[in-house]
């Protein structure tokens, strides 16, 4: 096994997990990468000490050096307006990439903060670029991932611009559900790792509205929610509520 840079804090078990064996490998970079190529990708990836809840992975204005993939836990990314108000732009679950928006200007336009204890793979962009020059499949994969991200952002724009509070929250829950399922977690029962305030902020709603909607959805038998724990009872109907296309159960986020 090739040696690689490692943090002392990381357990032995952790650092012996290669991308190849990692349950996230088809997630980070879903398809079309050969095993042999995967080894080379693996070699450039740096596994970092886990972040504690509230710790920053990077801050607004930080120089861009690496992309990051969430291995476990979750992050939020946010901008701040001049008056210091936080505006959440996304939540990031295991297997999702963070930092794609920083490539263009070599600066992170958003900050990323852990919502819970979170471990991360760091992918130094230099190494990534030179590797992808040699591996067309990696390059192609990267374009797909970024394209998907653009597509997702468009979906979010649609939700924010045209949907009612009810539709937004429903769409949000379905989105989380899809993303969890895709990673092999339960799609009907999971923990919200973010507060009502965070959800409201992200969806462009007051936190009170979010809270009211949760109770209403619960009364209507759509779901059961208790604090951060949520169970989707009638996913079908919830999905219908979101006025999204609930057909192909589209892969949704990154």
């Amino acid at each position: 096994m090739p040696t690689r840079k490692q943090e002392k804090v990381v357990s032995l078990k952790d650092i012996t997990v290669a991308c190849q064996a990692c349950s996230l490998n088809e997630i980070c970079l879903p398809v079309g990468i050969e095993n042999k190529d995967m080894e080379r990708l693996d070699a450039i990836i740096d596994r970092k000490r886990p972040l504690a809840r509230g710790e920053h992975l990077f801050r607004i204005g930080d120089r861009f050096r690496s992309l990051y993939a969430v291995r476990s836990g979750s992050l939020k990314t946010y901008a701040t307006s001049e008056d210091g108000q936080e505006q959440i732009m996304g939540f990031h679950l295991p297997g999702e990439l963070v930092g794609l928006d920083a490539i263009a200007n070599d600066v992170h336009p958003l900050a990323a903060k852990a919502l819970e204890t979170t471990s991360i793979c760091e992918i130094p962009f230099d190494s990534f670029e030179s590797l992808s020059n040699q591996l067309p499949s990696l390059q192609r994969q990267m374009l797909r991932v970024m394209s998907q991200e653009i597509h997702n952002d468009e979906q979010n724009m649609l939700t924010l611009g045209q949907r009612s509070a009810e539709e937004r929250l429903a769409a949000f829950l379905i989105s989380l559900s899809n993303r969890y399922r895709r990673r092999g977690f339960s799609s009907t029962q999971f923990n919200l790792t973010m507060s009502r305030g965070d959800i409201g902020n992200y969806l462009g709603l007051a936190l009170e509205t979010v809270s009211r909607l949760f109770t209403r959805f619960q009364n209507e038998g759509l779901l059961k929610v208790e604090r951060r724990n949520i169970e989707l009872i009638d996913r079908q109907r919830l999905c219908h509520f979101s006025s999204a296309n609930c057909y192909g159960d589209n892969p949704d986020n990154t």
Copy 2:
């Protein structure tokens, strides 16, 4: 000069314009591409017959084969909800790329329609990919363009989620202004190629609200507007209204 596929309808003057000489070359793919490389890029680009107002460049669900760059004129991209409602996701001005969201799933998730007579460069994605395998600079440039697109979409999400009607319209006008300036057009006087309805749809506002805001902005001396023709009188103040960062006059869109 290398021969290339050409539509009979295109004037001679048009087809002799190479990417190299094209006023758009640093726009489509802004930096870091050598002249020699630019020639090779130029060779794969297909110039198409202009679209008439209302014509589609592609429709939702169309197979993805090419990226497109607007040469002159303008496009809108939009999704349709099941009830046939149109939801506009973006407007595209000369020098901007369209279709980046289609790479991920080989299908166009949005339709693109000409707002006026519009000419287009078609960039077949196959050729583009194999060329970019040979040209690291092109590859890098593509990542930057896509990253910028993600960043822009995030900005739009912020606007839609948190801003008032007034702020949204101001931000929209400033964005157009920046994009026109960047292409060498006037940043204070230009034509809106889209209707009030389109603007409202895009910004998540009723067309009546857009109309009212235009008159209000005019009364307040921020701008002068007559039908589709607009002149920004007090760009500073308008920018301040938009609660965006008006400092570096950020490049804004793609």
